[in-house]
């Protein structure tokens, strides 16, 4: 984890200093302490800092959501981005954005859409068994359906909404505002607190259900709470940055391998998710500058290739 934090620090410094406006380390330090000239402090504090904080918070939210879903389903593929929770959140946000109230914050729609999708997938899982591969496939099919709904909603949106929404649908941190950072901090705080209160029961659920029950855990209730928390985390992240794929899938697995634990580490997943998204966003901004790649496209290229490699290798 020390290495992960080191990587995150390097990425943050790179994100703060480089770009179309160059700021030296000293400039950044003086901007942070309030001693820089107006232009430097606007760029560093007003533009780059919120984006870095948003990347860390969204990455942490996705890492947490991935860890919870993967633990509950006991299947690494049961990630919100694979089985459609991210796409459902995006659908909810888009419906709110284009049909109901174009000015309302998309978070409410994203939460609703995410939760409804979770209910749908759980209903499927109930009939076929949650860890079964069929549930994953059904979630993938649901994702494709929701993607079509999202595309359809976009063609119906007014042109200025549609233009913003297209970038948002790719998954981008470029337009993150200070209010959105506040929303992220608040949601992550509340949902994180809930996670801490059920932490002991959660650990018991990592074992099988019978053992957990014999330890006095009310498995049904804990599951419900965890699922709602993870769905809301996914919804919050999606509301701000759009459906960013593969972070929730990869972060818990990377954290597990890095820490050498048998179960999925919760805090480790959050830290890894934050680091991965921050690094991805800095690369997406700078790799082909001045072209700004939406970070969701970068995670899709890398994450898609990674998932393909894992699947192909496991089938040899």
């Amino acid at each position: 984890m020390a290495v992960t934090l080191g990587i995150a620090a390097i990425a943050a410094v790179t994100g703060l200093t480089t770009g179309s406006f160059h700021a030296s380390l000293g400039d950044v330090a003086s901007a942070l302490t309030g001693g820089a000239d107006g232009r430097t402090s606007v760029v560093v504090l007003g533009m780059r800092m919120p984006r870095i904080i948003a990347a860390l918070l969204i990455g942490a939210a996705l890492g947490l959501a991935g860890a919870v879903f993967q633990t509950l389903a006991r299947n690494p593929l049961a990630s919100p981005d694979i089985v459609g929770f991210s796409a459902g959140s995006a659908t909810g946000a888009l419906i709110g954005l284009t049909l109901i109230a174009p000015l309302a914050p998309p978070a409410v729609g994203a939460w609703t859409g995410g939760l409804l999708t979770v209910v749908a997938v759980m209903a499927i899982a109930r009939s076929v068994g949650i860890s079964r591969e069929r549930t994953i496939l059904a979630g993938i099919a649901l994702t494709t359906l929701l993607a079509a709904v999202n595309d359809y909603l976009l063609t119906h949106a007014p042109i200025d909404v549609a233009r913003n929404a297209t970038q948002w649908l790719h998954g981008s941190l470029a337009a993150t505002s200070a209010q959105e950072v506040v929303l992220l901090v608040a949601s992550l705080g509340v949902l994180g607190a809930v996670l801490i209160t059920v932490h002991r029961d959660y650990r018991a659920l990592e074992l099988d259900d019978d053992t957990a029950r014999s330890l006095g855990v009310r498995t049904g209730r804990v599951r419900l709470v965890l699922v709602i928390v993870a769905a809301l985390l996914t919804g919050t992240a999606t509301a701000v940055a759009g459906p960013i794929g593969f972070i929730a899938l990869a972060a818990p697995q990377l954290a597990r391998r890095a820490m050498g634990t048998s179960g999925i580490p919760v805090v480790g997943s959050a830290i890894t998710g934050a680091t991965v998204l921050l690094v991805a966003d800095v690369i997406a901004q700078r790799a082909l500058a001045p072209l700004q790649i939406p970070v969701g496209l970068l995670t899709a290229v890398v994450g898609g290739a990674y998932l393909f490699w894992i699947v192909a290798r496991s089938r040899r």
Partner: protein, 316 residues
Amino acid sequence: MAAVLMGLVVLSLAVGSRALAPGDVVSALFSDRRDAIGVIVHELRVPRTLTALLAGACLGVAGVLMQALTRNPLADPGLLGVNAGAAVGVVVAIAFFGVGTASGYVWFAFAGAAGAALLVNSAARPDRRDDTVGLILAGVALSACLSAIVSIITLADDDTFESFRFWAVGSFERRDPDVALQLLPFAIAGLLLAAVVARGLDQLQLGTDLARSLGVSPAVVTLSAGAAITLLCATATSAAGPLAFIGLLVAHAVRGAVGGSVPMSLPLAAVVGAALTLASDIVGRVIAAPGEVEAGIVAAFLGAPLLLWLILRRSA
């Protein structure tokens, strides 16, 4: 079926942001009218209709071949990433090699489709009968990766891709008038190869040992079927963008009608594929009038629920 197809063709020529009377369509079609109706029919509606027919026939046949070859009832050129591979070829040809004609970039589409087909085939295990999940997962991962690459390239080169914005989601709007004519030879080559390989595929269904004893070389059949699939998918994608679900829908419709025999299926698959694609395009023009919904989105609204149903039914 042929009558349905004829009806759809007339409908496709008549329906649009300016609706035409069927009588006007017919008279414009068989005369050299240079008035508004003549221009609409000859320069907009006819090319659009021909392109949809061509792409649909190719995808329908490719879907049947793919399901026979992988013995996977969920296989589809779009879901397994072959169309996304072709799309990468097309955008690379346009962005980096300045190729502007369909007959030029279709070669790049071959390369892309062949690469994707080989990759996804490396994850296929046709010897294990009930192993549908891994292949689909590998295909979905590959698609996600390749589609993101397409998005990045098109974002980087806005001017070149202005007219391709809709192509990327599978559309027949604003295609060059002679795209269908340029691609016709490639489509015919693919369909002929499919017809040649059909019997061999049928015998391969019996198992490799039995096929060998019937004088069929499994390697030759697999390779030729793969080549036919590549040709057909690349042609269709060059014409219409990466359309998913047409192959899946057609393969299941045809199987319901004539059973599992590949040689019997192919002619019907071509007709049904053409009809389905054209119908998707027409529906897309009608439901959002005066705007349009891309045919690819309409096809996904039909195909994704079918996919979901197939998965749930198989699990029962």
